[in-house]
């Protein structure tokens, strides 16, 4: 289940994650399209996401904030570029409160999600992430790394 393959293209600064699920297409789509479902997986366990606005239409925005262990709040957004339920969702993924005024020095990524019926049942999902530049990739990974470390520390804390 879940991740079946990860393709990396260093030249195009692209990474595509392939995953498979037993659930049907419509249900997998819901996990992206329903804000309450999105909240369950977008942020790491110690930085859960709360979706504030959810307009899944071309040009529309999803705005969310992640709340850290110290009550620290971090805003992020998607600006929707393509939406064809239940098969295709493409958006720009950025940080800050307002997609019209992206946070300075915070790079964005282009994300494209494709869902398809799998032969023999279930759903295949491909998520392509593209960095605007190598610099953007560096910055985002540095932030992701920080999140990951905090999440891991939080999970250890929970066990003690």
């Amino acid at each position: 289940m879940a991740v079946t393959r990860i393709d990396r293209d260093a030249q195009a600064l692209t990474m595509t994650v392939h995953a498979e699920f037993d659930a049907p297409l419509e249900r997998v789509w819901q996990v992206w399209a329903d804000p309450r479902q999105l909240e369950r997986w977008w942020g790491p366990p110690t930085y859960p996401a709360t979706v504030a606005d959810h307009d899944l239409a071309v040009g529309g925005a999803v705005r969310y904030f992640m709340t850290g262990p110290e009550g620290d709040v971090h805003w992020g957004w998607w600006r929707i570029r393509e939406v064809e339920p239940p098969r295709r969702l493409a958006f720009e993924d950025g940080f800050g409160e307002d997609p019209a005024a992206p946070a300075e020095g915070m790079p964005t990524m282009q994300v494209a999600v494709t869902l398809a019926e799998r032969d023999g049942g279930g759903t295949a999902m491909a998520i392509a992430s593209r960095f605007a530049s190598a610099e953007a990739m560096e910055q985002l990974l540095a932030m992701g790394m920080e999140e990951g470390i905090r999440a891991a520390v939080g999970q250890i804390d929970a066990l003690l």
């Binding site: 289940m1 879940a2 991740v3 990860i6 990396r8 260093a10 030249q11 600064l13 990474m15 994650v17 995953a19 699920f21 659930a23 249900r27 997998v28 819901q30 996990v31 479902q37 369950r40 997986w41 977008w42 790491p44 998520i127 992430s129 530049s133 190598a134 610099e135 990739m137 560096e138 910055q139 985002l140 990974l141 540095a142 992701g144 790394m145 920080e146 999140e147 990951g148 470390i149 905090r150 999440a151």
Partner: protein, 119 residues
Amino acid sequence: MVAYTHPDADAVDLLFHALADRTRRDIVAVVLREEHSVSTLARRYPTSFQAIQKHVAVLERAGLVTKEARGRERLVRGDVDAIRRAQRLLDELEVVWRERIDRFGEALAGLDQGAEAWQ
């Protein structure tokens, strides 16, 4: 808290450009195992000596290989640290998405089981 340092962005551009070419990736793999002169490298590929010399220069600028004069030869050797840095960048992104997909699968299972699963 963050066990991570920013390599210079231009250096990263050079890295990605250098690794974008199949022949250059192969040269890196070869000289990581064993040092070679440019002329012995050139004999491995159907392209010209000059083409290989250019590839080596690109790799050298990106810090992926080093060249050292020994007698009349210029020996090319792979720089393991530079390769690891490029790999690590993609490793980190991979971890972010693997963790997301794990939680995505859990959210999907939660939909099947109904809302009580989340109490």
